[in-house]
Symmetry: D2
Subunit: 430 residues, 4 copies
Amino acid sequence: MKEAIPSALIAEQNEKLARDLHKDYDALGEKLSRTGLDIEQLTARAQAFELAVPSWGAGTGGTRFARFPGVGEPRNIFEKVEDCAVIHQLSGCTPLISPHFPWDQVEDFSELKQYADSYGMGWGSVNSNTFQDQPGQTHSYKYGSLSHTAEAVREQAVAHNLACIEWGRQLDSKALTVWVGDGSNHPGQQHFQRAFERYLDSARTIYSALPDDWEMHIEHKMFEPAFYSTVIQDWGSNILAAMELGDKCKSLVDLGHHAPNVNIEMIVSRLIQFKKLGGFHFNDSKYGDDDLDSGSLHPYQQFLIFNELVDAEYRQQDGFGPDYMLDQSHNVTDPIESLINSAVEVQRSYIKALVVDREALNSYQENNDALMASNTLKAAFNIDVSPILAMARLRGKGAIDPIAVYRASGYRAETGKKRPASGGSSSGIV
Amino acid sequence: MKEAIPSALIAEQNEKLARDLHKDYDALGEKLSRTGLDIEQLTARAQAFELAVPSWGAGTGGTRFARFPGVGEPRNIFEKVEDCAVIHQLSGCTPLISPHFPWDQVEDFSELKQYADSYGMGWGSVNSNTFQDQPGQTHSYKYGSLSHTAEAVREQAVAHNLACIEWGRQLDSKALTVWVGDGSNHPGQQHFQRAFERYLDSARTIYSALPDDWEMHIEHKMFEPAFYSTVIQDWGSNILAAMELGDKCKSLVDLGHHAPNVNIEMIVSRLIQFKKLGGFHFNDSKYGDDDLDSGSLHPYQQFLIFNELVDAEYRQQDGFGPDYMLDQSHNVTDPIESLINSAVEVQRSYIKALVVDREALNSYQENNDALMASNTLKAAFNIDVSPILAMARLRGKGAIDPIAVYRASGYRAETGKKRPASGGSSSGIV
Amino acid sequence: MKEAIPSALIAEQNEKLARDLHKDYDALGEKLSRTGLDIEQLTARAQAFELAVPSWGAGTGGTRFARFPGVGEPRNIFEKVEDCAVIHQLSGCTPLISPHFPWDQVEDFSELKQYADSYGMGWGSVNSNTFQDQPGQTHSYKYGSLSHTAEAVREQAVAHNLACIEWGRQLDSKALTVWVGDGSNHPGQQHFQRAFERYLDSARTIYSALPDDWEMHIEHKMFEPAFYSTVIQDWGSNILAAMELGDKCKSLVDLGHHAPNVNIEMIVSRLIQFKKLGGFHFNDSKYGDDDLDSGSLHPYQQFLIFNELVDAEYRQQDGFGPDYMLDQSHNVTDPIESLINSAVEVQRSYIKALVVDREALNSYQENNDALMASNTLKAAFNIDVSPILAMARLRGKGAIDPIAVYRASGYRAETGKKRPASGGSSSGIV
Amino acid sequence: MKEAIPSALIAEQNEKLARDLHKDYDALGEKLSRTGLDIEQLTARAQAFELAVPSWGAGTGGTRFARFPGVGEPRNIFEKVEDCAVIHQLSGCTPLISPHFPWDQVEDFSELKQYADSYGMGWGSVNSNTFQDQPGQTHSYKYGSLSHTAEAVREQAVAHNLACIEWGRQLDSKALTVWVGDGSNHPGQQHFQRAFERYLDSARTIYSALPDDWEMHIEHKMFEPAFYSTVIQDWGSNILAAMELGDKCKSLVDLGHHAPNVNIEMIVSRLIQFKKLGGFHFNDSKYGDDDLDSGSLHPYQQFLIFNELVDAEYRQQDGFGPDYMLDQSHNVTDPIESLINSAVEVQRSYIKALVVDREALNSYQENNDALMASNTLKAAFNIDVSPILAMARLRGKGAIDPIAVYRASGYRAETGKKRPASGGSSSGIV
């Protein structure tokens, strides 16, 4: 296996922190044991936790106003694989890369697969792109893709999705994620019903081309790039589309794609209940689809979402098994650092949700003891599970302090030399 | 037929305004004829337009902070019928009263029906109330009703709904509207999925008791009275529940029950498409479920909603035929004045939507001419259809200027004498 | 000193938990010492932390839809004092009661003061009420109070505030908090500028009556009870009013009174910078002014606010010294439990903010190291400071587990016997 | 004077519509005269109305996801002048161009001024740009400009603003508009107070360089490009900054830069009251800073804003005289069409606000007749003033139907030939 970061460096850095870690781990283990929790089991769960990283996340993002490029940004999918390998090696929980086409298209996918294999990286859900025009493209998506009024445009968009499935098959991916920017900027511009019917028609063709062991995930988004209406605007339209298409079609939840104040954990529960939760795009946001680092603003909300997910596991809810992925825009940080950090934050929410005393919670719920139900969740959230996360990394040959090791490695400076700036302060895609 | 307001007074007041009205009506008719529109047909449509008025709307509303009672508020359903008759007589478009139980419960429903008949008033959808405790009630709804964890509470709530159906049957109503305040104020207080399952169980029992020619309408609300989660929180949960229950169950849209920024006209389209639009509660709002006067803040949004409704009529969409109703809280105005005014504003949106050139709009949509599509809607909205509305009232023996006639009638002062203040500045229910 | 809860019971309950607490405290102390933090100093700060409890918070709150009364609600200010004494005795950090007039008006304020003294309770900021009509009141506040168009109404509202100052003086309070519901429900109803000018005129008269050592705190609120416009709608209007009035007038921040998505910690910083932060009303909310339990939904936001407060202390910012108070509506919990719990949550945020490494943070900020700056805050937030809070309570003769002790005490059942239900499911005031 | 569109074509097209226009104009004039309004005076006011067009608005805008270029986009400020001349010639109300530097920088500003003069176009407020990095720029604005932690960056940003003033002086502009993207994406990234202090320091240097007859306008924006905090985030920070800087510094309101639900017309009133309203950026939005066409979604809100503006004129409010400008992003329409259309929509709101019966409104306000106050505004809004707007255009040698004339002119096709596509689907700046 190739090493993105020298394992000797990691070991050396871990060495400095291991003593304190063991002390904290033992203290926490003792404390958890008082309520019947086995820290070793929790650590094993942390080690088993898997999150996909989006290939495009390795580049610096931007806004419509500007993009401020970083040093050593990856120029192709091979370099993105390298960066993703760094993230996984240090965090220990991101073994999958989610590719985006046509950005990550290559001549020879078996070469790409081998390259990823050499780093121990696999492939998550495949993402199609019909929200941008590519050089040389026959028809423009300015007025939509899968829901466009013109059949030729819809066919072009469908064909691209079929190609994505094929490319994904070669990478041994098992899911296609479909997000379209289709919508309108003016009242009247689009006939809502006809647009949705056209979308469903196109989606049916894509769905029918899915390999048997694949799923299709539909992603909704309230707005942007369309600012008056969006064809799959919310979970309601999303689940209706997924129900129309069939069992292998499910809904994907991106945390930033909702109206203000909406209770997202409740939406998650609804999708679980109706066997339609396909996966997640984790990120955080304050104002819109800000695509900030996961958990950087609303760690308790992220915990409440994992509370639903862990509860579904606990109840062995039929049809449950979503894919987890980060989807963030790193405008002011080193993308590798943000992705490492965010992976750990998502993992943190997962472990905290495992700590919840579900029997007690259930009993408080049945008896409408609102305060103690709330406190039961809070008790789990308040526990600092950092030692479990660090121990999971240590045991998985990752870094106790991944950011520190990354900085010590000089990886970024090196890529800065190897990958000359692409120039262009034009806005990035996220 | 009894007269709530002396028809002679109306005639006398109309006399003063009739000349100018005819002048404006003719000028508008000429203008509309240039684009092939027949003003007489529009006036006929205005006359045929029907809106229900909520019985509870006749009283002054309030907030959790206070209620500032008005003069001569109705003390029972008979007095509410009188007030609703005033509204209908002057506006000409509100022939239906929507009762609310147990507030409007009486010993003898045939007496009540006769009383309403004597004013030419009929009955709209029946509303159940399981969001408040009534004196002497066995079980409290503090922790829910149809979704309560305790079977006995759910049974009590179901029984109340069954009684509502029976009472409504005696009034010749044809629909039951179910809105519950069930939800939670704390994360963890309620298990989302189990609460929704209990809700569906209870609702199934109610649904199975519906007379053949009835519909059941489910109303969603994002929040309030529950402030962390609500069992039927949005149109997604609403339509899923309606689909689970059966064809006679549909979704009701209250304009104030959505997250900020949400595109409500698009939700209306989705419900139409899936044959699940049961009806409307019209009102307006700026911050939350403000229950302000319909169209007083967002007249263009109201027009865009009617654009969807009229479009569905135009396309003869299968399964389309929603009930229209006002649902407002009148905290600082005379409720009768607000309801008259709001009825006219809703009717105004309907007529403007009829003026839209649908063939042109369709063509612009097909060709992605966003600007002209938008302008086609705006052209209809910009037309001042007031003369059509006034002429419809004049022809229907209503008032050209209903507020002026109402004020001239001295009706409010008279009720002030006949109906002594109930006292109590406690908050009203809306 | 009278004991609201028998100290023997507290001691007995603490006994059971003390061993584990000491173990956790020691482990945490060791861990904190690695970064140079002295747990003893933090515990001392926790013990010195003071929060006021609103007298009205001791009753069950409600919404405009309903109020579901609890058992043994206090019927007058003396009973509220008893409940507040319970809260302080168990939590150890709420030694002040904030009274609300005319609700808490008594004949003999020296008797009331002595009664509170006997429990070791003092008095926080005095709250006036001109958003409700009281029985027998000459002029109604239906259309405003301090900003009413009629001089007589304004004078009545001013006089009430002057009376509040006098009553507060007798209780040895040092601040008057002014919140008015003045605003409008319809565009055009109120002339914005004239209404604000009238408000300022009235407020000047009140301000000029302040004792020398008092402050006047203005509270803004985006909406409710007024639903189109509010006279002091946001911090902008608030600080402008405070600047117009003078140095002793400052702005009070209630966490629930802002537009969606607004960055409240930034507003706190602005008010600190301009020497106008008078105090806080702590609570939590998801949709509007939900008045949920502090920190129950957004604990990280509460921490970020305390980060600003502790930073101002750290920088010895001129003019800094806000009053802290809870202001919540307890609709589904025992108010005493919620207030205890919330006091601890606010204290938790304070202690976590003290743990922040401010030198490191400052350095990251200067170097635009966004990720490490963010992680520096998160590192402090992630630490479970529960042992410090519990130890502070233990040392202050409070309860290690205050909710458990409260429940064990049977206090609520006893008040249920002593205080018969007031009846009335009308909505409470919060 | 050069003609952007042949006046003969305009005359020919007007000829076809003139008869109907005169008919509608006369009918409206008669109707208005009944309430004492002189249509000729209103038409004169419409003709005198002036709006600036942003130079950058002539290009197709985009989002961070993509930009879909249009045909014949202007490649430099001279071509933008041509496009703006088309807009003004047809709409008759946009005689000013607002330039943006460094985008519109030229070697010889007198040549540019002469070129604009030749089309009868003048220059509005000058806009600086420190939210993007320009090729060859010494310091990056990735972490801020006027508020950057490094003095050298701040100095560079200040120097650019000083240059903008000098360039604007040569164009005979009279105002500098300063909008910065400074802010943060992570809690802790930026010290709120120190950043604001640095901003004020930089702004003071710029302010002190203003020519005597200039104003400086500060523009606030809630978020984007910064997604956690923004240095001038709202009108509160804006007016405080303007007060710190001096009398010639005022606040600029962009309709899209506010939190959801905020009452913008009230903010306008506050700025007027404190003599700090500098100007407007008109546009419309549903979700965030969508930059949609003015009035395309919320025409009544735009009217309510003009109601405040016209009221300030009516009251001869001291210090009142804001600059009006469009600021939109045209992603799916021909920018020239959108700007023409939007100019007319803004003008429409202005004329409707002039129609308001201010004496009646005032009387209703004084008497708290909320319904009639609201109806007084609505009565003005409901009037279709299109004939006044069209007549004003006709008399000013503009087009009765500007979009139709523009399309008939073939201007766009011609620019398509003369201005080869710049290529690049990278996102535009708006």
